[in-house]
Each structure stands twice: as structure tokens, then as C-alpha cells.
Amino acid sequence: MKTKFMHMLGGVLFCLLLLPVQVYAKGDTIKIGVLHSLSGTMAISETTLKDTMLMLIEQQNKKGGLLGKKLEAVVVDPASDWPLFAEKTRELIAQEKVDAIFGCWTSVSRKSVLPVVEELNGLLFYPVQYEGEESSRNVFYTGAAPNQQAIPAVDYLMNEIEVKRWVLAGTDYVYPRTTNKILKSYLIAKGVDEKDIMINYTPFGHSDWQNIVADIKKFGSAGKKTAVVSTINGDANVPFYKELGNQGVSSEDIPVIAFSVGEEELSGMDTKPLVGHLAAWNYFMSVENKQNEEFINTWHDFIKDKKRTTNDPMEAHVIGFNMWVKAVEKAGTTDVDKVIDAMVGIEVPNLTGGTAKMLKNHHLTKPVLIGEIQEDGQFEVVWQTDAEVPGDAWSDYLEGSKDLVSDWTAPINCGNYNLKQKKCLAAK
């Protein structure tokens, strides 16, 4: 009987031993970490990005790899669990020795990963539009900063649609809060009365929108053209738009412009009642040009589904990946420090017919497109900026951040350099 017990004990010991013995040798491949949730609440958005990365890596390997080596994707599932994001990042960098990580979607996952990437001097490409107010040497932000999405969108509504009254509706987390804060001070600076701005926050996954839509309807019946600027996240959008449609709020009366609703999200909605509502992005699947057509075809071949959509964060990954490849070729190595230095200034074509350039603050130049939802679940571009807009990490419309700039080149080399005090806040 004692032996049986020892068996079990041995089992435990064995389990414990398994942990440390995973020593990985750095072989003939270049490893790329793919850190996107494949289960849990965020799987809905992030799985597509994982597939995008696999496709890009496969394509690059077909072209002969990089620096004469094959690329190898290391896919992990952080399961929409934020502490697990940090743990998986550590695993990718310290154990798997990946040379770059493409990943994260939500702000909180990025915030969770950030200290680890900085500590282990890793490299993260973050593909989603976000709230700004951050700049890390180890992170490249390939999504839009607020000035590349929110501000032009509001400009469009103000100038073209002549909106006078504003509902800023968002999910209660940091991205909508920051965006709305920026927009509020921007609108007030443009002469909008505070009474004409209504701000509303709802929890994640909010499903009963009856009151709020009724409030919006009431707010919009005051005789001035009203629009809703929506930073409502993910799952809450479907019931929100459904309720809008049912209560008869049409895009002609009160248009809704969304920053988190793309083609992928629309594919899970009944789009008929949504026609005419808007979204602001840096890429739409419906943009007609050669690169985009090619990209869509490759994607359809890869995913083996002609109906799958492409979206803005996918484009961000495409740009980020192509830039990284270029930077590695330029630096002649995958060494993180050298690649970071090589990244700044790199230009690659984007999918909307322009060029994306990596700026000193690790953000991109991006065109801003406003699209209206069509019945087929696509967007039709109704307006776009004349030129690419450079991403700004620190908003000019926020107290506390308007004096800050980010510049990761010598001599400043700082993510939050205060122009007034002429010093780097991080250097202490």
C-alpha cells in the first residue's frame, strides 16, 4: 500500500519536473509569437487575427523565408484571461525565445503584457485602434490612435452632416473613456455647448438597451441634428443596433458612427436596419484597388471560405508584419534592439492605396475613412482624409498629456517626454 502511495507522489514530482525541463534550443527557424485569444469572450475577434498571422507567415515562407531561415509561428491561447496574457508573453519570450510577438486586442491585455515585454526586452505589434496615452519602446502600435479615427470622424459629422448635438456612448473601460474625454474637450473647443453633449457608459456585454435608446431618441428630438459617437464594444453592439432599429431611430435621423464595428462584427448582425449608420476606420474591405483585391483573394484561399470578411486590425497586422520583415532585412538580424532601431522610418504600402510609415513614436501614418453600412454587410466609403494622418500617442486635447511627446530616436529616446519641462518622465 505504501508503494501505491509512492506512485502517486512520483506522479506529482513528475509533474513538477516537467515544468522546468522545457529548454528550447534556438534552431534554424525564426520564431514569431502569436498571442491572440482563441477561447473566451475575445475569441470572437482575435481568432481571425491569429489566422491572418498564420497566413502571412506561410506567405513569407513561400517567398523563401527571412534571412535564409524559415519562419515559425508559435501560437498560444491566452483565453481572454488578462493575467494569462502576461504569463504567455513571458513563456513566448523567455521559453520559446520568439523574436517578435503579434498580439493582444483589448487595452487591458496590452497593459497586462506591457511590463513583461519591457522587462524581457521583447517586441510586440499591437494591431487594434486604442486610446493612446502610452508609448513603449518595445511596442509598435499598428492600429489607430484617437487622432486617426475619432477626431476625423467627428470632423466629418460636424462639417458634412452638420451635427449640432452629440451622444457619446461607450462601454465602461479605458478606450471609450479616453476617446470620449478627448472628443468632449475637442467639441467644446469647437464651440459646442456642454448641454449638447450627452455621455453614457454601459457595462461589457450590455444587452438591454431599451432605456438608453429611448434617452437617445429623446435627446435627439430637441430640434438640432444629433449623432451618436459609439465606442460600444463587441457583443453589446448587436442588441444596441437592434434596439435602435426597433425604436425607429434611423441613420437619417440620428446617425451612429462607431469605432469598434467593422466588417467582422457586421457579419454577425442583421444589417438591413443598419444601412446608413457609419464607422470610421483606416481600412475597409470594400476599398477597390489592386493590393486589397490580392489580399482578399489570398485570405479567401487561405481560410477556404469565400464569405469571410477582412477588416481593419487585419490590415494592421499585414502592415506590421511587412514592416518587421523589412526591418529585419535592413538590420540583417532579428536582434530586438537592432530591429527596433531599424523600424523607425520604414515604409510599406497599405491596402487602401497609400503608404504606411513607421514614425518615431512607434505609431503609423494612416488614412482615415468614413464608411456607411450597406445591406450586404460592407461599408461604402463616403469620405476620407486627403493624406495619411500621423498617429499621435499623446492627445493634444487632454490635460496632462498635451505637453507630452514620444520619440524613440536619439537624442530623446523617450516615450513620454515633457516638452515644457524638457525632460523624460520615465527616466528616473
Binding site: 507522489l9 509533474c15 504569463e87 497593459k111 479605458v174 473613456r177 513620454n416
Partner: protein, 360 residues
């Protein structure tokens, strides 16, 4: 000295393993050079530290569930509250190294335009005050909740669902940015603890040792309760509550004491967990989390204490392993594990060895 471990083979083995690990892991991490086959990476140290914190939490759950029959679906809440108390201390240690360089306010408060640290953050810059809160806040919550529930004799399934409602309500509350706990993002970007950088290997090893010590102490304390006279009454309550009451014991007092003690243990586990994973956010309050940790105990084996530790390690290790090796199937595997264990191993893995022992 360790009278409480008499006859508890699993506990003896656990303490033995823990003491070996406490000696071996630091040496293998700090002394053995990187690249050597025996080197234990910092990643592994942190991972083990996290498992140890989870194991302590599992022991706390086993105490109330296995021995007292209360299936708490809200222990994640106590764990998270302890974690938040620790997180608040760590947050205030950042000082002016935040992105806005504000020496008094954490970044998220600057961002919410707050002018000063709210009253409930007062004192958390002191480590010992924070440590008291780590135990006090979950303990107090458990005390109040338990006092209400046990007096009105809410039992069984009802109690489980009430604890679930408790953690759910707390989750919703902590998601609110106005609450002043960082909303959805929670607290993160910690820099140092008691002046030691959280990123250095030695701090991580120290945290690992602290977790191991806490687990050992927590285990011994629970074991001491279990083998005491009190423990006998507790088990009697589990089996036939009414009879114990008729004999003359104040059942609600006993339940309350054990429940509160268990919540304090969970809080301590949370406090150890946070500096090692580097973030605490409302997701920890999620009801699913609490169910998951009950499952660790079920898989390990109830009413054994060491079974809980075993379960915590096995489930979390397979989670770590499967989310890396086979991300698409890990939910299948986890789900199947739960079903199979409840069906075929009602006493968990620990029960397996017991049964065999009995048969032998």
C-alpha cells in the same frame, strides 16, 4: 511539533516537497547558470509561485467545502479582494514613475481627473497596513455575509447561489470606473515591493518562497483545525447539521468562524498571486473563476486538503500546457476532465489512492 500531520501522508509529502522546492528552486534559478540543463528559469519560478498561491486558495475552499459542506461559489471574490489590497499597495509604490509622472496619484486616477487619492486608498502606501487589509477585508465580508446567511439557515444549493451572486455583484461593481479601482483594466504596471524591484530574479524567488511558506502554514493551520475537537464538530455539521444543533452546539457560530478563516486564507492567496502575475482586475471576481477553483478541489479530492493542492497543480498545469500546445482543444479537455472526474472519481485523485489503500 507537527502533531497535526500524524497519519496524513499526503500532507507529509506536501510539506516535504515544499521544503525541497524552497531550497532547490532558488539555487537552481539563481546559482545554476542559464543554459545549463538544471537551470530553472524565472518563468518557471513565477509559474510555480502562481500555482502555490492557487493551491493555498484551493486549501481554503476545501476547508469549507470538504469538511463543512458549504460549496462556496464565491471564494474567487475573497481571493480577488486580497489581491486588490495588495495591488493598491503596489500601485502606490509606483510613485512618480507612472506615465504621467504624477507622484501622488496612480495613472488611472490622473486619467479620471481625480485630484486626490480617495479615502479608501488611504494607508495603503504602508506595507503592513495593506497586509492587514489583505486579511481584514475578505474576512470582514465573509463575516458579514456568513453572519446573515448562517443565522437564517440558508444552506446547500441556495447558499452556493448566494455566494455566486455575491461575487457577481462585486465583479460588476469593480468593473465600474467610478469605483476607484481602475475599472476593467484593474491595477497593473507594478514596479516594486518593499523597495525591491518586482522584475528582479531574487524578488521573484523571494515571492516564490513566501508563497510556499504561506501554503505550508495555511495547510498546517487547516490541518490543525481539522484534527482538533472543533474539526470533529465541523465534519458533524457537514453530515447532519440538525443533530449537531440539537446536541447544543452553536452551529452558526462555528460555521461563521470557519468560513471567515477560509476567506482570510483566500485573501492571503490573492495577495501572493498579484505581485507574481503583475495584474489584478475584475475578471478575478468572475463567477466562472470561482467555479473553476471548486473544480480543482473536486479533481484533487475533497476533505483531504492535500488533494486540493494536487488538484490546483494538475488543472493549472494542464491549462498552462494545453493553452500552449493545443489551444483549440483545451476547453474540450478541461470540460471532459470535469465530467469524468465527477462521474468516475467522486473522491478525486486523492480518493484513488485511498481506495487502493483500503483495498490493499
Amino acid at each position: 511539533m507537527f502533531y497535526m500531520l500524524k497519519g496524513d501522508r499526503g500532507g507529509q509529502a506536501l510539506l516535504l516537497l515544499l521544503s525541497i522546492a524552497v531550497v532547490l528552486v532558488p539555487v537552481l534559478n539563481l546559482v545554476v547558470p542559464e543554459g545549463h540543463a538544471l537551470h530553472v528559469s524565472t518563468f518557471t519560478v513565477t509559474l510555480l509561485g502562481k500555482y502555490l498561491a492557487f493551491a493555498l486558495l484551493a486549501v481554503a475552499v476545501d476547508l469549507v467545502w470538504g469538511y463543512m459542506g458549504i460549496l462556496s461559489l464565491g471564494h474567487g471574490a475573497f481571493f480577488a479582494l486580497g489581491g486588490y489590497a495588495m495591488g493598491m499597495y503596489l500601485m502606490l509604490q509606483i510613485g512618480d514613475r507612472g506615465v504621467y509622472g504624477n507622484p501622488d496619484l496612480p495613472d488611472f486616477m490622473v486619467f479620471l481627473n481625480w485630484q486626490e487619492v480617495p479615502w479608501f486608498w488611504q494607508g495603503f502606501d504602508n506595507f503592513w497596513f495593506a497586509m492587514i487589509m489583505v486579511a481584514l477585508v475578505p474576512g470582514l465580508l465573509a463575516f458579514v455575509f456568513g453572519a446573515l446567511a448562517f443565522r437564517s439557515r440558508v444552506t446547500g444549493v441556495y447558499l452556493s447561489i448566494m455566494t455566486q451572486a455575491l461575487t457577481y455583484a462585486l465583479m460588476l461593481a469593480f468593473f465600474r470606473n467610478e469605483m476607484g479601482f481602475g475599472g476593467n483594466n484593474g491595477l497593473t504596471d507594478f514596479k516594486d515591493i518593499l523597495g525591491f524591484s518586482l522584475q528582479s530574479d531574487s524578488t521573484r524567488v523571494a515571492l516564490f518562497i513566501a508563497s510556499a511558506a504561506a501554503l505550508a502554514l495555511g495547510y498546517l493551520a487547516c490541518r490543525a483545525i481539522v484534527v482538533s475537537r472543533l474539526g470533529k464538530v465541523v465534519v458533524a455539521i457537514r453530515d447532519t447539521e440538525d443533530r449537531v444543533r440539537f446536541i447544543g452546539y452553536r452551529v452558526d457560530h462555528i460555521k461563521l468562524a470557519i468560513f471567515t478563516f477560509s476567506a482570510v486564507l483566500a485573501g492571503i492567496a490573492g495577495a501572493l498571486y498579484v505581485p507574481q502575475v503583475g495584474i489584478i482586475n475584475p475578471g478575478e471576481f468572475s463567477p466562472l473563476r470561482s467555479i473553476e477553483l471548486v473544480v480543482w478541489v473536486a479533481i484533487g479530492g475533497r476533505a483531504t486538503l492535500y488533494g486540493a493542492v494536487l488538484g490546483a497543480f494538475i488543472v493549472n498545469y494542464s491549462k498552462t500546457y494545453l493553452t500552449g500546445a493545443a489551444p483549440e482543444v483545451w476547453l474540450f479537455a478541461l470540460g471532459a476532465l470535469f465530467v469524468l472526474v465527477t462521474l468516475y472519481l467522486p473522491n478525486g485523485l486523492a480518493g484513488l489512492s485511498k481506495k487502493k489503500e483500503a483495498a490493499a
